[in-house]
């Protein structure tokens, strides 16, 4: 383990801000598209805005150690709020903006937030709805005043107004601010982030300045990030990745954070900015690819032929060219031509024209999707991380990129694999503790600083890269003792554009069965082209032609799973296509869209019984929660489909 660094020159994010404000004074720090134009702020201007807000917070009575919750979409003002909170010795706690008020109340109560900085009326309304339960809550600050004029303003303040009051009180309070910022050390709390909680209630992960700055420095060096990077910040503020990319690395390297105009305009904004450093979960890449393919169907014959011709060529040599492997001259020339005619314009349309480093993580990405982007010359790589590790555990170095691994240990990270197959790591990024939860902390992090990831995997001997099998607790055994690794099979299913989500069951059972969610965009488009009429998601999901297509995918996955000796028992014997999408509002998924396996298993127990019971169909009623929190119920009769299975009787017998 590397020696812990004592207080370095830049021991906190506010200290990095001061450095950037003098070193990169006139370089852009933030941009936000508003009123159709990219508005920008230099580092010097950013420092002024943050100072004004910090003074305003002191003026409102914020004390060191207070928790300040920050809720809203990605906007410069909310990023400034985090740094301003740090500057006055408070702890920023970013929250998921799409959380319903009940979830929000839990987090606000758990950390005892005394201040809330909210983006707009919607967020303020949610806080007001639950404020009776929040004993510590003193003031709420909002950014966008729209619709809030009539509200009771005794404890409600407009962001700009708080800043103005801060500016007015500068002479009086700047000494206090300087003292508070100066008191920050490498071990003071930088941020508290709530885990999405695949199991149980969310836990507050406390990260110190050491965690954030060391990790930002190491990961920045790994990919040679500089102050001239451009990133688009569109992922939830509450997610550790966004905090590291948009705050940690941005302040360490001094690069520019661009915020989209609204969630709906993200793709347009992406194209306008053309980031050089980009992160997206696999579903974004999948969605974009699906879109491209659908749109190419509508293109003219010439364009379509050109597209497919050059794409075929890129598939053959694109990846090798990107990795710097030897490729014949003729192929290179043809690739350059393709770049001129197809790849270049396509990358530009997608917004990937300038990407130098791209990452994806969170879920497994389909090998074909991954290869597609890389063949176009986009340096897309994978990383493996966690909130508790301040993101980085492993990542892929340039030139050593594969779809089925997650790379080598990140700089300063040590890895070990226990006998159970579970992965452990130790690094300067290892979190301080779970807030007010010493039991959980002790259960996750041992005395020597090793942290259990909860994932099972192994290090490939030939390459030294880590490969992930599944969540350690999800890996089980079938009744005959064979290994049950649901994620492995689910991922294979999800690589089909028609399938949005899949859940496999089979632990302690004879055989495996699966739930499948269709992808409404892909299947809907297919239905339209084939003149299949449908009135609702439910009707489309139950359509015989759709079931037939899905059965084909399942059979193909079974054939592929049967190849793997260790996991051949995980073939799907029967499945249903669910009548509703698994949804975070119904608690079936986390806010980061990971399936909560146990909850799904409990909630749809009747369907599972029907699958194992050999019934041909099952009638069920499911409670659903609408976006505004109201509840309703939908009922449906689902067909239980038998899937084609490759015989593995012999293997089990051996």
């Amino acid at each position: 383990m590397t020696e812990p660094v004592a207080n370095p020159a830049f021991a906190s994010v506010p200290a990095l801000l001061a450095r950037n404000a003098s070193q990169f004074a006139n370089r852009p720090a933030y941009r936000e598209k508003e009123f159709g134009i990219w508005q920008s702020w230099t580092w010097a201007e950013t420092a002024e805005e943050i100072e004004a807000l910090a003074l305003g917070l002191i003026n409102l009575g914020v004390q060191p150690g207070d928790f300040i919750a920050i809720i809203g979409r990605n906007r410069p003002s909310l990023y400034w709020s985090m740094v301003a909170a740090q500057s006055v010795g408070a702890v920023p706690v970013p929250l998921y903006q799409d959380a319903v008020s009940e979830e929000m109340a839990y987090v606000l109560e758990n950390c005892g937030a005394s201040y809330v900085i909210a983006g707009d009326q919607e967020q303020v309304d949610k806080v007001i709805e639950v404020q009776d339960r929040l004993k510590n809550l003193q003031h709420v600050i909002y950014v966008d005043p729209r619709g809030l004029r009539k509200y009771d303003h005794r404890t409600l303040h407009e962001f700009a107004h708080v800043q103005d009051q801060g500016r007015a009180a500068r002479d009086e309070l700047s000494g206090e601010l300087a003292a508070r910022t100066g008191a920050l050390s490498y071990d003071s709390i930088c941020v508290m982030l709530y885990t999405s909680g695949t199991t149980g209630k969310p836990k507050g992960v406390v990260l110190s300045n050491r965690n954030v700055i060391e990790t930002s420095k190491n990961s920045g060096d790994f990919d040679a990030l500089t102050q001239s990077e451009e990133i688009l910040s569109y992922l939830p503020l509450a997610w550790v990745g966004d905090f590291i990319f948009s705050v940690g690395q941005a302040y360490w390297c001094g690069f520019c954070v661009n915020c989209p105009e609204s969630a709906d305009t993200m793709m347009t904004d992406l194209r306008e900015i053309g980031p050089s450093y980009f992160f997206a979960p696999p579903r974004v890449f999948e969605g974009q690819l699906t879109n491209v393919m659908i749109r190419m169907e509508d293109a003219g014959a010439l364009k379509r032929r050109m597209f497919h011709h050059f794409l075929e060529h890129a598939k053959k040599v694109g990846g090798d060219i990107l990795d710097g492997n030897p490729v014949g001259l003729l192929d290179r020339v043809k690739y350059s031509l393709g770049n001129l005619l197809v790849y270049g314009p396509l990358k530009d349309t997608l917004g990937y024209g300038r990407i130098r480093v791209g990452y994806t993580a969170g879920e497994a990405i389909g090998p074909e999707i991954f290869a597609f982007y890389r063949s176009l010359g986009i340096n897309l790589k994978q990383l493996y991380g966690q909130t508790e590790a301040t993101v980085f555990i492993t990542q892929q170095p340039d030139g050593q990129v594969r779809a089925d691994t997650v790379g080598v240990p990140s700089p300063a990270v040590e890895l070990k694999i226990e006998d159970t197959g579970e992965i452990f790591y130790r690094s300067p990024g290892v979190f301080v503790e779970y807030f007010n939860n010493p039991d959980s902390t002790a259960g996750t992090k041992d005395a020597e600083g090793w942290v259990a990831t909860g994932d099972a995997g192994f290090i490939e001997e030939s390459s030294g890269h880590l490969r992930i099998i599944d969540r350690a607790k999800d890996v089980g055994k079938l009744a005959n003792g064979a290994m049950f690794a649901p994620k492995y099979v689910e991922n294979k299913l999800k690589f089909y554009p028609d399938i949005l989500e899949a859940v496999l069951f089979g632990n302690e059972r004879e055989t495996c069965v699966a739930f499948i969610n269709i992808d409404l965009v892909a299947v809907g488009n297919w239905a339209e082209r084939n003149n299949i009429a449908y009135a609702s998601y439910q009707e489309l999901a139950g359509h015989p032609a759709v079931l037939e297509t899905i059965a084909g995918h399942v059979a193909a996955v079974n054939a592929s799973v049967a190849q793997d000796e260790m996991l051949s028992g995980c073939q799907i014997h029967r499945f249903v296509v669910l009548h509703k999408e698994l949804d975070a509002d119904d608690g079936e998924m986390t806010r980061t869209r990971k399936v909560r396996r146990r909850i799904v298993e409990e909630k749809f127990a009747d369907i599972i019984d029907a699958l194992y019971g050999g019934l041909a169909e099952v009638s069920t009623t499911t409670e659903v929660t609408y976006e505004d929190g109201r509840k309703g119920a939908i009922s449906a009769t689902l067909a239980c489909v038998d899937a084609e299975v490759v015989s593995v009787q012999k293997m089990a017998a051996e």
């Binding site: 009123f35 159709g36 134009i37 729209r146 619709g147 004029r149 609204s262 709906d264 305009t265 347009t268």
Partner: protein
């Protein structure tokens, strides 16, 4: 509650000003058909005034009288303390009145942005030649007007469709674009003809919020026709009820809801 000539204060604390527009004994006939019969009411500054009634009650005709499109055979329209003479459409717009239509009337082939920009026409002083050259004053003018339009686009949350041709939009969004165009004229009086017709519940909720926000943020006086009773009762400060061209009720939503004539018109009466 609003007897005072100087206006009144609503339940949610907004101050409603004096009379902006007054209809005095309006009668409108189409040949032998009497569409509006001797109706009088007023619209006050800053209020949301609804006109409701069953099909064929004369609501749209009434809105057309307010907008100056129809000139009533009898009666007077007073606007800002002056009796109004028959007006041409551009004169109406210059007086600060803008409207949306029951059947959407947008330029289908143009982008959302261009459609909303047309709402700024009255605020442009340069002529077509100056605009074509786009130098000096014309450029500055367009930039200033574009800024106003962008604020409205932001306000109505239609940034993502800014450059989309209107023809490609779903119905609910077209309605919103129409509202945007009307707002671009920065009207003092906004007339909405069935702003929520044909919308689903979610779209109605969105539109209601936008109407309230427009009224709140810009202080725009709004007169609207609407069928959805729930919406009308939630939105409006005062309601005029029409039936067969006559006014059968006028007052706050609560008063109107308990008015026997209104109940009869909506629920029907037994004649035995």
């Amino acid at each position: 509650m609003f007897d005072a000539a100087e206006g009144y204060v609503t339940e949610d604390g907004r101050t409603i000003g004096g009379v902006v527009m007054e209809m005095k004994n309006i009668t409108l006939r189409f040949g032998g058909v009497v569409a509006i019969k001797d109706i009088s009411f007023d619209i006050r500054e800053g209020e949301i005034r609804a006109i409701i009634g069953p099909n064929g009650a004369g609501k749209s005709s009434m809105l057309n009288v307010i907008s100056g499109f129809y000139v009533p055979q009898e009666g007077e329209v007073w606007f800002h303390g002056a009796k109004r003479k028959p007006l041409r459409p551009y004169e109406v717009a210059r007086q600060g009145i803008a409207r949306t239509f029951q059947n959407i009337a947008l330029f289908e082939g143009m982008s959302v942005l261009d459609n909303v920009m047309t709402g700024r026409l009255n605020h442009m002083k340069t002529n077509i030649f100056q605009q074509a050259l786009w130098k000096g004053r014309a450029e500055a003018e367009e930039t200033a007007n574009r800024e106003v339009v962008e604020r409205i686009i932001d306000f109505l949350e239609i940034q993502a469709i800014r450059k989309t041709p209107v023809a490609r939009l779903p119905y609910g969004l077209k309605k919103r674009v129409e509202l945007a165009r009307a707002l671009a004229a920065e009207p003092k009086l906004l007339l909405l003809d069935e702003p929520m017709a044909g919308m689903n519940v979610e779209e109605k909720e969105d539109m209601s919020r936008f109407i309230l926000d427009v009224n709140d943020e810009f202080g725009t006086t709004i007169a609207l026709i609407e069928h959805d009773m729930g919406v009308v009762m939630d939105l409006s400060d005062r309601v005029v009820v029409m039936d067969y061209g006559r006014k059968i009720g006028d007052g706050t939503p609560d008063e109107v809801r308990n008015n026997q004539a209104v109940i009869d018109a909506y629920l029907g009466v037994s004649h035995d």
